[in-house]
């Protein structure tokens, strides 16, 4: 790795692709998390989590995608079969980034089915661990194709619990409930509003507010000044390109 400075003099010169901004935005989800398990689902969140560990969140734990905890060099440092993983979820020392086939303005998430649950028009995976994850440890989301089909007014089935649903369900659901961020191919979103409705937190460079609004099926909270997702540093870019994803899986998930 080169010894270039961490801040790049002119951001427009970084030459980062959209997929690389997405990696940075996902990585930032784990900033400040300390010694917890990062559970990324999907290629870009996985690259992001490993980037976070390699740089600003060195204490994170990561798995090999199966039952082993592995260090940055691939060496095994622990054993985490599904049964222990589920216990770790309820113990709270974990921050997962899940996918979402549908997500609404309060962060309710659906990967179960589209249409009426009794007889869905499209059966998807099932609720998986969404219900247990969301009321026990921080859950962020990753959406590689931001559209009005995904960002919907109301999800067809609540698997991952959103802020309004948690509040309605009471202290058992709200006690450990937190959705730090939603990252899409267009920008970063959070719930830092009075009513915990979704807010545009940053735009990936090259994306406009209008584009995000048109691709979102509900009313987003949009601050007067929306920042851009931060630039990757040269050393971060080098890590992504040379170390973490030399085969370019990120560009298969997000074009451009």
């Amino acid at each position: 790795m080169s010894a270039m400075p961490d801040t790049y003099p002119d951001s427009s010169l970084s030459g980062a692709t959209r997929a690389e901004y997405c990696v940075i935005a996902c990585a930032e989800a784990w900033r400040g998390d300390g010694e917890v398990l990062a559970s990324p689902m999907g290629p870009i969140p996985s690259i992001g989590a490993r980037l976070a560990r390699l740089t600003f969140s060195p204490d994170l734990l990561l798995t090999d995608g199966e039952a082993l905890l592995v260090g940055p060099d691939g060496s095994t440092e622990g054993w985490l079969p599904y049964r222990q993983h589920l216990a770790l979820v309820t113990g709270g020392r974990r921050h997962v980034m899940m996918g979402a086939s549908q997500i609404d303005r309060f962060g309710n998430q659906n990967i179960s089915c589209v249409g009426d649950w009794e007889r869905p028009t499209r059966q998807l995976l099932g609720v998986r661990g969404g219900p247990v994850n969301t009321v026990n440890n921080p859950v962020s989301y990753w959406v590689p194709r931001h559209s009005t089909r995904v960002f919907v007014e109301k999800v067809d089935l609540i698997g991952g619990v959103g802020y309004d649903s948690a509040a309605a369900a009471g202290p058992t659901a709200t006690r450990f409930h937190r959705i730090p961020r939603v990252v899409s191919n267009l920008g970063v979103f959070d719930f830092a509003t009075d009513d915990h409705s979704m807010r545009l937190a940053s735009l990936h460079p090259g994306v406009t507010v209008e584009e995000v609004v048109a691709a979102t099926g509900f009313e987003l909270a949009i601050p007067d000044d929306v920042p851009y997702t931060r630039e990757p540093s040269p050393s971060e870019l080098e890590s992504i390109r040379e170390v973490l994803d030399p085969r370019g899986l990120r560009h298969r998930e997000v074009k451009g």
Binding site: Y82, L86, T90, R119, Q123, G126, P131, V132, V161
Partner: protein, 289 residues
């Protein structure tokens, strides 16, 4: 060591099952599924099953063959192919009754059954539509005030998932039913056996009891013989799902399974016995190369 020899064929194991039973199937997604036992089940007349599974192609095949009345599952997936096509088709045609619960709820249901408890409390499901689509789920309020909040919290009372029978596949077993896994994850196969009245364990290879710990540590001995009714030697018995370290998932064949119309697949690969299945798979692979 045990003196009882519980070895039997897959067909003999399945002959002990009855229509209408609640059947737990081990493994996870498309990993270490007891597929030889599932194939034997497909050859039998057993139907009207309640299947309890972290679902993979076991669920897909039994659903496609119309053997499942009710499924208890948090998902069904082929892992490298995210959506299980036959599970999807069954759900979209409205032919599958489903108890859709979270992964952790599922585990606690098995634990409750294994511990002869009617339920176990779990912080999961609350606030989600798992409660809406399972109106039978009850909650339970803690009899203890939480020290930090002063609140008596309310949890989901996950009912015990009691099983009439469990089917699991492991790497090695002895004739008495001591089962050993050699891969990285036990999944929940021991729990399935403990939650069941009877359990049938298939394995890649039956070995002498002493051999089980010759090259592997004792903590790989996942399943105890007192939970096991039958042991089936079934080399590649998890095919086409993975059975690490003995064999990987047969990705090419899984793609075929996921794309071929079910009647055609069943006609070509499942019409005969297990040996015929293996021959048909080999022939198909030869045609591809």
């Amino acid at each position: 060591m045990g003196t009882g020899d519980k070895t039997m064929t897959a067909d003999e194991a399945v002959s002990r099952l009855e229509s209408g039973m609640t059947l737990g199937i081990g493994g996870w997604g498309s990993r270490r599924k007891p597929m030889a036992l599932v194939r034997a089940l497909l050859r039998s007349p057993v139907t009207d099953l309640t299947v309890v599974s972290y679902g993979g192609p076991d669920v897909g095949m039994l659903a496609a063959a119309g053997r499942i009345r009710k499924l208890v599952a948090p998902f069904a997936t082929l892992d490298s192919i995210p959506l299980e096509p036959h599970f999807r088709a069954a759900r979209e045609s409205g032919s599958l009754e489903l108890m859709e619960i979270d992964e952790a709820m599922f585990m606690w249901g098995l634990r409750a059954a294994a511990n002869r408890l009617p339920f176990l409390p779990v912080r999961a499901g609350i606030g989600s539509d798992v409660m809406r689509v399972n109106p039978g789920l009850r909650t339970v309020t803690s009899p203890y005030e939480d020290e930090s909040t002063g609140v008596c919290e309310t949890f989901v009372a996950m009912p015990a998932l009691r099983l009439d029978a469990a089917l699991v596949h492991v790497n090695r077993a002895d004739r008495a039913g001591n089962g050993q896994y050699l891969g990285p994850d036990p999944y929940f196969d021991d729990l399935f056996c403990e939650a069941a009245r009877t359990a049938y364990v298939s394995c890649e290879r039956i070995v002498d009891t002493a051999e089980l710990t010759k090259t592997a540590p004792p903590q790989t001995l996942l399943i105890k013989r007192l939970h096991v009714s039958g042991v089936v030697e079934a080399p590649s018995g998890a095919h086409f799902t993975s059975c690490a370290p003995d064999h990987d998932r047969d990705e090419a064949f899984q793609r075929l399974y996921a794309s071929m119309p079910w009647p055609e697949f069943a006609g070509r690969f499942l019409a005969g016995d297990e040996q015929a299945y293996r021959t048909a798979v080999e022939t198909w692979h030869e045609e591809q190369s």
